[in-house]
């Protein structure tokens, strides 16, 4: 039931969180020699989520009829890609702090937008329940 209320936003939030983690890791390793910056391909990850949603294929196993159907934690590892640096550095590190900062900010904004969507869903349902 829960996935029909929040729709794709539930999955989007998981992917956003995972992407934030990857970008934070890039920024943390900005001075580590031979570290290669990575990123999650959001488009691919969300289109796969959309697909499994439209086919209503919940990937949580139900062993009891009263179990609630839902998604397992979104695995985003298959969508991890390496970033191509614009200016290669001597120590083999491909983190460009300005690029990563921009991506992190972008991801935070979109995370906030997703939260906003979920919030408005909740208040919509609350309004309907109260008969306002």
């Amino acid at each position: 039931m829960a996935e029909s209320i929040f729709g794709i936003h539930e999955r989007a939030l998981q992917i956003r969180t995972a992407r934030g983690e990857v970008l934070a890791n890039n920024l943390a390793n900005a001075d580590t020699p031979n570290f290669k910056a990575r990123d999650i391909d959001f488009r691919q990850a969300i289109s796969q989520a959309q697909e499994s949603l439209s086919q209503s294929k919940p990937d949580l196993m139900k062993t009891n009829s009263r179990h609630i159907s839902g998604f397992a934690d979104a695995t985003t590892e298959s969508f991890l890609k390496y970033r191509v640096p614009t200016q290669p550095s001597l120590d083999g590190n491909t983190v460009e702090t300005h690029v990563e900062k921009a991506k992190f900010m972008e991801n935070a904004m979109q995370h906030q937008a997703t939260l906003e969507f979920i919030d408005s869903k909740i208040s919509g349902i609350r309004g309907a329940l109260r008969g306002e």
């Binding site: 934030g20 890791n25 920024l27 943390a28 001075d31 580590t32 702090t97 900010m105 939260l115």
Partner: protein, 136 residues
């Protein structure tokens, strides 16, 4: 939730940058510590950063750690100064191989990286609080 992971990642990076600032401070403080023989002379200390890897998969797990602190192999500066109290029999003193300009650049880089990680932490905190406020 796994969002708390971001805070761990940033915290590990802040710790690593603090160690780097510490070595810079140590190097700068000892930049003029002369001595009368090669072995006793202070050598510039440099931290080596390493990504924290998952033991089983060898994939980056998130965060950074200090692998080791190495002593610079750059040659010591020998100076002929027979009037110096630390001069040896030949009249030479040894100065540390600390490059002050390099250390200044190192310090700026470390403090900028530290700031970046604070910003990441702040943003994550806001998102977490926003998530907690959902539906209120």
């Amino acid at each position: 939730m796994s969002m708390f992971n971001i805070l761990d990642i940033s915290a590990s990076a802040m710790h690593a940058q603090t160690v780097r600032l510490n070595t810079v401070a140590s190097n700068m403080a000892n930049a003029d510590s002369v001595s009368s023989n090669k072995d006793e002379t202070y050598r510039s200390k440099q931290p080596v950063f390493q990504t924290i890897l998952d033991g089983a998969t060898n994939e980056p797990k998130g965060g950074v750690r200090i692998k080791e602190i190495v002593e610079s192999q750059a040659p010591l500066k020998m100076e002929y100064n027979p009037n110096h109290p630390m001069a040896n029999e030949e009249g030479y003193i040894y100065r540390p191989n600390v490059n002050v300009v390099e250390e200044m650049a190192n310090m700026l880089s470390a403090s900028r990286s530290y700031e970046t990680n604070i910003e990441v932490m702040n943003t994550s905190k806001q998102l977490l609080l926003r998530t907690i406020q959902l539906g209120k």
